[in-house]
């Protein structure tokens, strides 16, 4: 079981409020990603749940029990750190076994569990090596092995893939997601990379300046961003924002349209503009278009289009995919 509920959780360091009134319900077995720009409080929130920091106010419930004031080890969670935080003087076996040893399990149980975890993570040949003799990906797997062997109620991941190179990151991303599904254990995963968030999460928590901006499934966030921040943060390239008045909708403050929802229209259709940069990726073409009063627009067109800088084009937004925001940046739903 691993149901985690935050009720009015606050955290401040002196006069600085890092987390302002966080409320969240994480279902058992789900993979939840905390995402947001650096400094948004996502790591702090994770550490509050882990018990590595004390909350300033509010409650954290794990399976209905308030764990505020409970030491980390007693919360039944395990954590994978950004630096892996492997114990350098212990072998891989020692690292994975450490938590079990501290829990006072009999030797035979420890061995059995460690070997099972190692087998799951393809670490069996490396059990007697020291961390410094392993590659980055292997170290990462040891860190994960250390987490799973304790059979926790939930895994906490703190930007675990940020130290890996791009190719390995994609691979580990899949492995982690797969493993989580396999174990069916609740996971909270912190990242600043929205692609990671979109690809791995069952649900995403978007954080900004200590506030939870939106909590929902990846597609929900993509299709129905609750506000300007989420709209701008989720999706790549970024959503285009144009002032409502200029776009002919004076009742809304800002009109948002994603680059992939801008179509190249016939002359006279939609918004006119001049191509300032055209990026040809083969599968897509990215056009950066100077649209006068509308500002700089990005358009993503599937396939190859033979435009070059200086060409004059017309862009027409998909009317069904327009996002309207009021002057406070909150989405207007009709």
């Amino acid at each position: 079981m691993g149901q985690i509920t935050l009720q009015g959780v606050r955290k401040s360091f002196g006069p600085v409020n890092i987390i302002k009134d966080a409320n969240l319900d994480i279902e058992n077995g789900s993979f939840v990603v905390f995402v947001g720009p650096s400094g948004c409080g996502k790591t702090t929130l994770l550490r509050l749940i882990a018990g590595l920091e004390d909350v300033t106010g509010g409650q954290i419930l794990i399976d209905g029990r308030n764990v505020v004031g409970v030491p980390p080890a007693k919360r039944g969670l395990s954590m994978v750190f950004q630096s892996y935080a492997l114990y350098p003087h212990m072998s891989v076996r020692g690292n994975i076994a450490f938590g079990l040893k501290m829990a006072g399990l009999p030797r035979s149980d420890i061995d059995r569990k460690v070997e099972a975890a190692a087998a799951t993570l393809n670490l069996t040949p490396y059990l007697d090596r020291k961390p410094r003799e392993l590659s980055g990906g292997q170290r990462q797997r040891v860190a994960i092995g250390r987490a799973i062997v304790r059979e926790p109620k939930a895994f906490l991941f703190d930007e675990p893939l940020s130290n890996l190179d791009a190719a390995l990151r994609v691979q580990m991303r899949m492995e982690v997601a797969k493993l989580q599904k396999q174990l069916a254990t609740t996971a909270i995963y912190v990242t600043h990379d929205q692609v990671e968030a979109m690809t791995m999460a069952d649900k995403i928590v978007v954080l900004n300046a200590g506030n939870i901006e939106q909590y929902g499934s990846p597609l929900e966030l993509y299709e129905r961003p609750a506000n300007l921040f989420v709209a701008g943060f989720i999706g790549s390239p970024k959503m285009n924002f144009v002032p409502g008045e200029v776009a002919g909708e004076p009742s809304v403050a800002t009109l948002g349209v994603r680059p992939e929802h801008l179509k190249i229209g016939k002359e006279g259709e939609g918004w006119p503009g001049t191509v300032s940069v055209a990026e040809h990726l083969g599968s897509d073409t990215f056009l950066y278009v100077d649209a006068g009063k509308l500002g700089l627009l990005t358009a993503r067109c599937i396939g190859e289009f033979n435009f070059k800088a200086g060409d004059r084009i017309w862009l027409s937004p998909d009317p069904a995919r327009l996002h309207r925001f009021d002057k406070d940046g909150v989405v207007i739903r009709t």
């Binding site: 114990y87 003087h89 450490f98």
Partner: protein, 290 residues
Amino acid sequence: MATQQTQVLGRALLTPAVALLFIWMIVPLAMTIYFSTLHYSLLDSEAWSFVGLENFRYFLTDPAFLTALRNTLVLVGSVLAITILLGTPLALLLDQQVVGRSIIRLMVIAPFFVMPTVSALVWKNLLMHPVSGLFAWVATLVGTTPIDWFNDVPLFSVILIVAWQWLPFATLILLTALQSQDEEQKEAAEMDGASALSTFIYLTLPHLARPITVVILIETIFLLTVFAEIFVTTGGGPGLATTNIAFLIYTQALVQYDVGNASAGGLVAVVIANIVAFFLVRIVGRNLEA
């Protein structure tokens, strides 16, 4: 990466420095070995003669030699034990967030900057003196007989003084090591349910193994030649109680400018230092591999 040409050039450029370093090391050693085979006293410099190993025989058969050797080893061993056993908790303490930490650190480190002769004088006359010392005053205050330090436990008294001087060094090195310990590792251990003691045993201690080795080796080098503290406090006495090898060389040779005997004694000391270092490296050296 180097081509043959750059290798040759590199060696050619290094040669003068290496040669100079070699000469700088080897010439004094060679001279010492040469002098150790001579009967040669500065105060009788006209009458020098080759005597072979006579100087070594004279030094090694000195009735005081074995006592001095034992005192040397006891002194080195005790000071090492005290500085490391006290230095580790002290470093742990200083690593905590406390008010005025920088001032406390400065105070802890201060003894290291006191000249050995000065600290020996202070300890002898202001602290340990059985009549006018602070310890005697405290002892009288609580109604016990003051300890006559340099009379009853002379070697231990010297050990205390030397340990006091070297404690800051051990603390400082260990403190630096503690500060370089990875914070996330400690948190990982916390998540793993390790108590403070377990964290210390399983994480901190292995992390400190290397700096402790460094402390042991560096301190040993200096402790084998402790002289000023002995010269100032006890003059090697009473009897031979505080005579170490360095002091024995002093009384046997240096004080009367006997170059031959002093060289022989010095070489014996070098051999002893090497033997001690060999065993220490063997004992603690395994940690260097971790």
